[in-house]
Amino acid sequence: MIQRIFFLLVALFALLTFAGCGKSDSDSGSSTETPTIFKYSTEGAPISMDPVRAATKYANLMVTSIYDTLYEYKYLAPPYELKPRLAAAMPEISDDGLVYTIALKEGVLFADNACFPDGKGREVVAADFVYSFKRMFDPDTLPQGAWLWQGRVKGAMEWRESGTDYSQPLSGVTAVDDYTIRIELTQPYPQLMYTLAMGFSSIVPREAVEHYGKEFGINPVGSGPYMMKDFTTKLAKLVANPNYRDEVFKLAEHGYRPEEHAFTGVERIEGAKLPIMKEVEIHFMAEPVTRWTSFLKGSEVQYATMPLEQRHAVTESVNPLVPKPRYREKYNSMLIPDFGLVMVYINMDDPRIGMHEDPDQNRRNQLLRRAIRKGYDWEDRNNRFLMSAGSYFPGIIIPSLEAFDENLSRDTVTANFEAAKELLKEGGWTAENLPPLEYGAVTSVRSKQYFEQFRGWMEKIGYPTEKVVYRPFPNFGDYSKAVKNKEVMIMPMGWGLDYPDAENLLQLLYGPNESPGSNAANYKNPEYDELFRKAKEMLPGPERTAIYRQLNEMIVEDVPVIVGLMRRRANFWHRNVIMYPSENVHGSVLKYVKVVPESESVQPPQ
């Protein structure tokens, strides 16, 4: 009997093992068949795919794959240059910059879906855009992007305040006819075009919203290249939308420059009908190691970010990115900069460290902030945690923007513990009278390591260890609640730009935007606010750039925020995948991806 049980168990284990082997063998075979699936991966998952709530990069990826926006960024020049997507052409703009007239492509159909009569997708018309725009001002949809247009698009707030009746017009956004949209502004808004390329301004059919009700967020129905086939918290499966309009890829329209893009083999998709792949799987993988191991297997995900701990095993150098021959042979790779920055806000509302009524104390607090900044070792952060691939810079304006000032002194981003001690001394700060520093973060292994590194720096400028306090929050929601209630003293945060304009960064310190707005530092400087208001309505040009730089210098002077570092990630993809990846929030690249048989892989340059 015992023997029999044992035999059974051994047999069972053998079966399991055998089945496991069988599977991986069958997957790695056949290298000449044309693959039909692309397996993409991201580190986070979208929550809702309702465009009005597409506030994260993961949601935006899904939304811009499934829905159409009026404009989109060029595939090979994100996120700077726009081209028409659902719009037939670039808009006609009135001379005063207040009226935009946009023509739509004709004959574009929504994907077939049960929400339409007979299940057949109908044509997309201008009224759909008007409807979608109104949803952004309907509090019932819990919209997250209204701030982009609030106070700028005529009639939007009035429409909301008069009771969000969809049968009533919203004066600033109207359908002139089925294929013409008119947008009227209350003040010049040079960034408007960019907002029309964001997932927030996707065009949704009213039928789907009404048919799915609360579940619209997981049953997206759009006119974009892909349709949702299946969705879990770990995996989304997209299939090509058979109703998708005839879109043909042309290198010339997408900012192709051979010296920059040829290594991806992207010229091989010239003339291809989009979307190229019949199916796309998007794996949401929070554990970086799991994601990377899956990538290396070959049969699983085809795109991943190299985790920090792998850099010595995989690369000869990270910046510039040179993978070891073994990896270079099998994978294509690229350093992709974030279109944004990481920084550390200081709560200016907190009298222990921020602004103070007493001018003397105010001055001492400023010296304290400067001392902390002087001890904040961006180079060390960059070398230890960002593979030395990030770039750090003074001021809040990131280097990839035109307004970036190369001549700004790098003194404020160069750590010097002795100088920091001097600053503390100048302000009369001693180990006894220094205030406790409460460092907020969303709990994770990495944020604890960041904190310990920060505490290490603070120890070096003479801060007592026990006065540097870690204050982790279980999730981002609770952290932002505490931040919005002005309860956190030191706030490490990231910001991804919504559009390529420094205004999007400078508004982070605009007084009226103080918490619960996006001015988490609660910085209030009347001079700054005055100048910012002036710049906001100006058209791009040297005059505006000069003001932007002036604002930036005020930030450096007052230290409401310790800035800043732009990260770059080392991303890898299989050599039989033709793609030019992008990690920013400005739209999906999935429709351009082509997976070829392994025999036709893109070869590494010799």
Binding site: E287, P288, V289, W292, T293, P307, L308, E309, Q310, R311, H312, A313, R384, F385, T443, S444, V445, K448, Q449, E452, Q453, R455, G456, W457, E459, T465, V469, Y470, R471, P472, F473, P474, D478
Partner: protein, 304 residues
Amino acid sequence: MDREPEIQNKEPDSAPVEPRAKRDSLWKKAFRKFFRDKFGIASLVVVGIYFLIAVGVWLDVIGTNWSATTDASFAPPSSEHWFGTNINGQDIRDRALYGTRVAFEVGLVVALLATTIGGVLGCIAGYFNRTIIDEVIMWLYGCLDSIPFYLFVAAVAFVLQGNPYAMHIAMICTFWSSTCRIVRGEVIKIRNLEYVEAARAVGVKPLTIVFKHVFPNTLHILLVQATITFVGAIKSEVILSFLGLGVKNSVSWGIMLSEASSEVSGGIFYNFYTASIFLFILVIAFNIFADSLQDALDPKKVSV
């Protein structure tokens, strides 16, 4: 399985308990028996060494260098850094030593409080068996038992997120129930013994009986339960740290292992080896100790 820290009576039945007069001899016998058990002694020595380390850290004699950062990320073991350094160039030896202190803090606090609460409530419930008090206590642990452990702990830890002892409290809230259940069963037997009935007959107040005559007779169970709870607590700390619910301003083996979970695939094993070995030796020593203790204290129990 789901509840990794298996804290439960391994025994469906327990031996009857001797009346008070014989109790001293029980302890004496147990003491003798324990000291004949070589494994038991060895495990006690190991636990003792760990305890000394923890005391050393408390007194700031060893493990003082756990937080200072140095330039050498992931430096290999050397005379300066015995077990290497981590990403921040912090000394892994000192972090592991400091982790010993945290493990003892978690283990002792949770074991002491959870077994005390469990013991007291168990005595009361057992003594007032079949009354409303018993029902309420059974209801309470029934409720706690039917909520999945990690979800419950996560919820408690979030509620108390500002509190440095959130994790400890969460564990105490769940771990007392198994002790309570066992003690209750034991007390139900004790209360029917002659000496208790005699005390009742001469009119001793019920609470006096419970705490003066019944509770002391459950001490041997509590001792064993405390060691088992101790192990359960330090093992749970690892999982909770991995889920981001661990200690905040210091370092623990669980935090070291969570760091290691991303490092090992890159071939960096310093955190992994050090923390696993520290943890494994303490846990196995405690497990053996608990077994020997149980053998010694309860001769009728099935030895394991």
